[in-house]
Subunit: 436 residues, 2 copies
């Protein structure tokens, strides 16, 4: 994908829009918690009030897409039923219930007499969000952005243009009614603009891509703006030699089939050689009866796995009912395999041996390291964050499932009484560094 597109420079129209969002973002970054909650409720009210228009716009998009012959999977993601819309609207209100991520004091201390340092959370500024199809994402992303005091530039899939326009227009009505600048939310509709966004590094502080691995990868490689997200999700489950067999089977099955298209589903199962025969004897029929295609290394094929795996299997995110299986000599080989092939999303071990569990969890450098539970728990809602912005597989924070916390940064506020550094060099003043 990387070589096909050239990233266009933003034209005047896009620059003007970006400047408006930037300016609105400064206003919203200085609003009180209650103002932002009120705005979210009004945004929800206007979505409710304009429900019929939104559903009508969605019908238009749907018919157009159907005529074009897009895939059923895409059509079903595009379709906005009344129930889906209502639950989206409820989602907007719920984001209002989450605790305020802004203006939280992280550090407060006296550096010297009369010189007080505070570090407080502040909004990031302007978010650039690029997503495919799903029109419900517009409501979710916009409400998270407003909740955290950020401006947002949105670009959805063009097949949902009418729906997205109708939704954003309602959101803007709500924003305006609450006294906030409606330019805090901006929708782009052309493909050219969505590419040119990647060059708006003066105006956009963080890009959040929501879509296919190719989309995320392409964006990561083509912008200097920080990107929150993950491309591949190659998760592993290792079955150690000392396990509760029922647990191992149940967790392995859940980690693969509960929702195979999710990034937190496993792609590779590693099995300790001492338990491989017993485990596979029961696991193969279990996976078979759940339509999971198994591909394995030589040893596992000898134990009944039907297809032999090639090297590329260890680096493939199937996102499907396919599972690669490898039999390992010991814990160390399992760790080495994960270190080599993991995309640092989530990797898990099943074992009754706590020393082995600790070793695995400490030596695997992934955002999530799990013991005796399904990798499918790697998710912002399941972690109790209330809302999820995305999952980051970068090493630096924010890492793993990211909630509202990922949409704020911090700033140092230093208040003095005329304090100068020269007084400390000359010995007239001294640092006290007292925490409050």
């Amino acid at each position: 994908m990387t070589d096909i597109f050239e990233i266009p420079q933003p034209d005047k129209d896009l620059l003007d829009k970006a400047k408006q969002v930037r300016s609105a973002s400064i206003q919203i970054s200085n609003t009180k918690n209650q103002t932002r909650i009120k705005a979210l409720n009004l945004m929800a009210d206007y979505l409710k009030k304009n429900s019929n228009q939104i559903l009508e716009a969605n019908r238009e998009d749907y018919l157009k897409a159907e005529k074009k012959g897009i895939s059923n999977a895409l059509l079903s993601r595009l379709k906005l039923s009344k129930e889906k819309l209502n639950s989206g609207i409820e989602g907007v209100r719920k984001v209002g219930d989450l605790s305020d991520p802004v203006d939280q004091v992280q550090i407060r201390k006296e550096l010297s007499k009369g010189l007080i340092l505070e570090r407080k959370t502040v909004p990031i500024g302007v978010l650039g969000v690029i997503f495919e199809s799903r029109p419900d994402a517009v409501m979710q992303i916009s409400s998270l952005a407003i909740r955290s005091g950020n401006g947002v530039i949105l670009k959805g899939g063009s097949e949902a243009n009418f729906t997205n326009i109708a939704i954003v227009s309602s959101l803007k009505e709500g924003l305006q009614k609450s006294g906030l600048d409606q330019n805090s939310i901006c929708l782009l509709t052309s493909r050219r603009d969505s590419m040119a966004m990647l060059n708006l590094d003066k105006y956009i502080n963080l890009i959040i891509p929501r879509g296919s691995n190719e989309l995320v990868k392409f964006i990561q490689e083509n912008t200097e703006i920080p990107v929150l997200g993950h491309a591949d999700g190659i998760c592993h489950l290792y079955i150690d030699n000392d396990v509760n067999m029922e647990m191992a089977l149940s967790v392995a099955l859940d980690s693969k089939i509960q929702y195979p298209a999710a990034c937190n589903a496993i792609e590779t199962l590693l099995i300790h050689k001492d338990i491989a025969q017993d485990f596979l004897k029961r696991a193969i029929p279990l996976f078979n009866s759940n339509d999971v295609k198994l591909v394995g290394d030589k040893k596992s094929v000898e134990l009944g796995v039907k297809f032999e795996a090639g090297y590329e299997d260890w680096q493939t995110e199937y996102l499907d009912l396919i599972l690669s299986i490898k039999i390992v000599e010991d814990l160390d080989e399992a760790i080495a395999h994960v270190q080599k092939f993991s995309s640092k999303h989530t990797d898990a071990i099943i074992t009754e041996n706590l020393v082995n569990a600790d070793k695995f969890m400490n030596e695997i450098d992934s955002a999530g390291v799990f013991h005796n539970c399904s990798t499918r728990f790697a998710d912002g809602f399941r972690y109790g964050f209330g809302a999820e912005v995305g999952i980051s597989t970068q090493t630096l924070p924010p890492r793993g499932p990211v909630g509202l916390e990922g949409l704020v940064t911090y700033k140092y506020f230093l208040k003095g009484q005329g304090n100068i550094v020269d007084d400390f060099s000359s010995g007239k003043a001294i640092y006290t560094h007292k925490d409050f």
Copy 2:
């Protein structure tokens, strides 16, 4: 600079070294606080023991550099006196006294019965540090890396090669004596390797450049590895109309002359028009007597500033005894100027008006926003962090002066008893989301 060099691919030798550091970093990431403190003390002991060799190596570097005719400024940075070495060695021990940044529990909660989530700080992995001249940086950076459980690949200025080799060899002796893998620290000495480092994104998690703006900018533009640092430091001081005149003069002078080559010194002074005449009447002679060259907009030239500023002055980091001056209509114009030209390092306001102070501090999106004190306080030691890795002007954390905290990230640890997600879909299990 960007167009001159091509980034070479790492050769086999460099890849082998990188793999060794990576592997050592996994070992050190799992060491206890006391082990790392012990290692630091042993590193200091061996530096002490080998002091004569280190000073001898430095004399060799110095003579060679002198012959080559390098600048006096560079020579003086290269020179390692016995006192400088001793204070470097003390610095290594002091880093041991800082509180452990690793293994700190940030989140601990029950997701459901028997399913416990913890978020703990962990080392980042492998740091890549590129710095110029100063051999004392090797001791400082290595001790910060080891303290935070990271491996480190160092590349210093080639003019300090003998010194750096002698220092690193002592540090490795200390590491080994403490039982840690000496490969946790690796020194590169060729220019080719230091460039090829930028392509080691599989092995290096964070690049920390310490040197000129050009070096930092070049690195930021030529690697996909996250970079901690800042290129320009264009800091502003705004003198509002309602000020304590003595304070305004004293803070303006300190912010400029206390150490003009520092990134936290101001480059531009903004003055409210109502106070400009009174302020400049006293400020011009004060700056003149301190050899500060003033360049100003038309209005300030009318009030006695000698040289007229061009547009490029507002975007220049002089790093010298030069100060640009602009007279503004009001607070809003001052804020707009800072928003346009600030490099988001540190910007300050002098005012007795608390509403104006708050507005300035909230609307300026810089890592540090100061009120009634010198911009020169923007520094990890002055903030009380004990040690400074660097100052980041990025919007996302770590931001501003970065201490040991910037050398760790976090990881989610989830421990269960066989928990699977399907039980929650089917209603057999429920989320409790209880914080401990």
